[in-house]
Amino acid sequence: MRLLVIEDDPLLLRSLAANLREENYAVDTAVNGEDGLFKATSIDYDCIILDGMLPVLDGWELLSRLRKTKSTPVLMLTARDAVPDRVCGLDNGADDYLTKPFDGEELLARIRALIRRSSGQATNLIHIGQALIDTAARSVSLRGETIPLTPREYALVEYLTRHLGSVVSRSELYEHLFDEDDDTLSNLLDVHVSNVRKKLGADFISTRRGHGYAIDPPN
């Protein structure tokens, strides 16, 4: 899952990014509206965390411009909790908002909820054959037994699960699993796929040669 955090306060930006990376999200950052809008339009993020007060281009303006091309879920952070500010954000296309100061756990839960809703799922538990994926606990179990996965492996499984039955291209996987600071070696993805297959079964992820990977829904 790849997120974009747009926040002009360097301290808060650093703290948010560190918090999210520890939750195994791939995190990109932007310190002003212009930079943020450029990244938000050029990359398909799973969720954008957007501060309202931004230099160059404020959050509400950025949102209304972004919505012309993208429907990425957006969580707005705002220091102003007056009702008009919140209404303005939601009307401009924000999917949720949080008022500063907020609880770190609440932010994470809201991000999970936004990603879940945008992929059309109602709960955090997804059954695929014998496997159970818990997106809240970020864990995968097979026949009731928890399978230890590395954060990247889990992210790969979760992303493919969110696009159950459809083929996800390698470039799309790269885009969503690695952030702008990662050195993306071309075969790193193959290593992760092969590790997942070892842990969850060889046919858990199927390869569509020339197209990408997919997790097929149970019959």
């Binding site: 002009d8 301290l11 808060l12 703290s15 002003n32 931004l54 230099p55 220091a79 100061p101 609880d103």
Partner: protein, 479 residues
């Protein structure tokens, strides 16, 4: 029905009470006057009637005495006595005098005459039985009057010691007067009631706008500060009062709005570092970490805390400058030259770090004021100039005296300030560039400088040419 004490607390009721009392007094006096006039008039008329009746009677007697010998002088006293004692028939008298000889005509005018020694000469038949010899009227008066058993009697000293009484029962006239008194009282009471109703209506009309003002003011005090008194009345006292109150409410609303905005801004500024602290601590507590990671988290928290402290300090300074109690806690002679030298010395390292040349031209200038506050103005302006320009720029501080004012100018060679920002540059939390990272400031430095300068009775202004630089000029009276 509210108790009387409460009624007296109402202007309308007090007005009404005074109005009723005064009106009652005036009407009572007028009624008494009217009654007295009517009564006097009645008495005079009766007296006149009696007098003319007596004269007519005397004339009749004279005519009878002269009948035999016309042209003669008035009859002598004995002759007169004789004439009166002889009178017993009505036939010779005109109609209006015939009652004199009718004992049953008790309501008519009667006559009686005595000689000087009190012997009765003539008493008309209709005279009351208890008629007595009257006392002589006072020397200097032609006649005197007396009231006996509802009879009005006129006593007159006649010629040659003769004393006469002419009188009549006036109970009918008294009854008439009585009736008049009742009528006047009734009319007065009606007039009083009419006046009360009119007064009540008038007082209500006068009080109504005051009630409207009071109700509106109550609603405003209740929190609806945008409401205003409806000024429809003409330019009278209440209209002017309404205008004054509305102006006051305008200023009050402005002050409340500014205060609200200021509080919202302050809380907004405090929320971000607070979020950092909460976010970092919750991250740190989530799992066991290495010492470096903890150090990193603590450093971030410390930075956020420092920022909050600086903001809170600035807010406190502003609050102190805003408080009217002690705008200048320590007014005394201030050596501006020394204050500025100190500020420049303090900021020199920052200027060096940013590669900015810091120059000064300071004349010996002193003014009365709070040295610590003025030093804050200098530091704020100079550090502002250093922060808002690229490397290799220069900042010039110029202190001089002109027309009894100390003038401090801080000139920079920065990018300048666009014209649309200039009017707001001293507003609290106003930033030309809303980016927080552009400088460490929180948008209060210039607002603090302005508050301090204003409290010193001075002015602060800014001139700026975009692309060339800005000049902040502080003018403080020297005394």
């Amino acid at each position: 029905m509210p108790p009387v004490q409460n009624l007296l607390h109402s202007v309308r009721w007090r007005l009404q009470l005074w109005h009723a009392l005064i009106l009652m007094g005036v009407i009572t006096v007028l009624c008494i006057l009217a009654y007295r006039l009517a009564a006097d008039d009645k008495r005079e008329r009766i007296d006149r009637e009696l007098t003319s009746f007596e004269r007519a009677f005397i004339r009749q007697i004279f005519e009878r005495s002269n009948r035999g010998s016309p042209g003669e002088k008035p009859p002598s006293s004995n002759r007169l006595r004789q004439l009166m004692q002889d009178m017993d028939a009505a036939a010779d008298f005109p109609l209006e005098m015939r009652d004199l000889f009718d004992p049953t005509a008790v309501d008519s005018t009667y006559l009686a005459f005595w000689d000087g020694s009190g012997n009765i000469l003539f008493q008309s038949a209709n005279a009351p039985r208890n008629l007595t010899f009257p006392p002589a009227p006072p020397q200097d008066q032609e006649y005197s009057t007396r009231l006996q058993d509802s009879r009005r009697e006129l006593i007159r000293n006649g010629p040659r010691g003769l004393r006469g009484v002419v009188g009549r029962d006036i109970s009918a006239d008294m009854a008439e007067l009585h009736k008049l008194a009742w009528q006047i009282s009734l009319a007065g009471a009606l007039l009083w009631l009419l006046g009360l109703v009119g007064g009540w209506w008038l007082a209500g009309r006068v009080i109504h706008p005051i009630n409207v003002i009071s109700q509106t003011a109550t609603r405003i005090a209740g929190g609806n500060v945008s409401e205003r008194i409806d000024v429809t009345t003409a330019d009278d006292e209440l209209g002017r009062l309404s205008h004054v109150l509305n102006d006051t409410f305008d200023r009050l609303e402005g002050a409340i709005e500014r205060q609200r905005q200021f509080t919202a801004d302050a809380s907004h500024e405090l929320r971000t570092p607070l979020t950092v602290i909460l976010s970092e601590t919750s991250r740190g507590l989530k799992r066991e970490r290495t010492a470096e990671e903890y150090q990193d988290i603590l450093t971030t928290c410390s930075l956020a805390g420092t920022r909050m402290r600086s903001l809170v300090e600035s807010l406190l300074i502003l609050a102190r400058q805003d408080g009217n109690d002690h705008p200048m806690p320590d007014p005394g002679p201030c050596d501006l030259n020394q204050i500025l030298s100190e500020a420049i010395r303090l900021l020199q390292p920052l200027a060096n770090e940013r590669g900015i040349q810091l120059a000064s031209r300071l004349e010996d200038t002193a003014c009365a004021g709070d040295a610590r506050a003025l030093s804050m103005v200098a530091v704020n302006l100079i550090s502002n100039a250093i922060h808002h320009q690229p490397h290799q720029g220069s900042v010039t501080v110029h202190l001089r005296t002109s027309f009894g004012n100390a003038i401090l100018e801080v000139m920079d060679t920065g990018p300048g300030i666009a014209a649309d920002h200039l009017p707001h540059i001293f507003d609290r939390f106003y930033r030309v560039d809303p980016s927080r990272q552009a400088n460490g400031g929180h948008g209060l430095g210039l607002a603090i400088a302005k508050a301090i300068v204003t409290n010193h009775g001075g002015t602060i202004e800014v001139e700026s040419i975009p692309g060339e630089g800005s000049t902040f000029r502080v003018t403080i009276p020297r005394t």
